[in-house]
Symmetry: C2
Subunit: 159 residues, 2 copies
Amino acid sequence: MSSTTGTDSTPGAIGADPAAPSTAQIMDSMAAVGTAYFHDFAAVVSRHGLTSVQAKTLSLLRRPLPMRGLADRLVCDASNVTGIVDRLESRGLVRREPNPTDRRVKNVVATEEGHATIRRIREEMQTTRDALDGLTLEERAGLYALLQRLRPAMEAPHS
Amino acid sequence: MSSTTGTDSTPGAIGADPAAPSTAQIMDSMAAVGTAYFHDFAAVVSRHGLTSVQAKTLSLLRRPLPMRGLADRLVCDASNVTGIVDRLESRGLVRREPNPTDRRVKNVVATEEGHATIRRIREEMQTTRDALDGLTLEERAGLYALLQRLRPAMEAPHS
DNA sequence: TATTGTTATACTCTATAACTATA
DNA sequence: TATAGTTATAGAGTATAACAATA
């Protein structure tokens, strides 16, 4: 639809219309902002003695999930989840509970400390919060609308 | 979907103004889109037999960089770069060259195949490209402008 | 003395394969 | 037979500490 979505590499685009960014330019910006976001996240969670994947797992446990459900959401093999949950459990941040209806399944539940930890992490991502606070209300609304519009297409099955 | 989208821990925001998203809501969207972007990237580079960090390293080598420069840009300890570059070099994607003016330094240079590989990877990120193609020209311009506005604050030194 | 790059070490994440206990 | 979870294994990324060569 966007007509000239030609691949880019900046053809003869010395004075290119600044209002018509190439796909490559947008991708570069997405990568830069995404990378900065995850650096902020990693720095904050490491102060809590957690790795990124451990904190991500904790953040998925707003409600109990089976090991398998965690593997699906983390987009990794189920065998990895054993170790990740082991380490969170040994720190008292999650618990494994038996599933009453299917004895093969174990439900992973965040403890009160686990919930508190992930709450604090969200609050402590100050670089990201400050960056968002630097936007006007209109810009914040625009950014959110665009990200929400992008999200389903980005998360769609990669045929 | 805005009603029962239990996506985040918004305070008492059941019927919150959709034009005034909370910081937490925006952060969740950023994380979701960022995660999807890096999943696309990881899937594409893995078809080329590369890990994400290897491909990221290759993408930094549009011009030669010393090992130390790579460590700075990858935001990791210098000792890690040895192994990453070792693996890229054993696949013929980069070369180590001596620095004429400082014999302690080794410049890492992408080979022709290295340049071609990173070029192909950018072109093959179809999920991301399709998502961007689903936006109107105005939306693309708005997204790019917002990301560019966010970038310096996000990349700022994390005191 | 300080810096560049490397090695050695230990831990975590990752996929694959094989196993168990359930279903 | 199929599924949930685990274990064993091997490769890769990560930080720390120590080292040689050079500045």
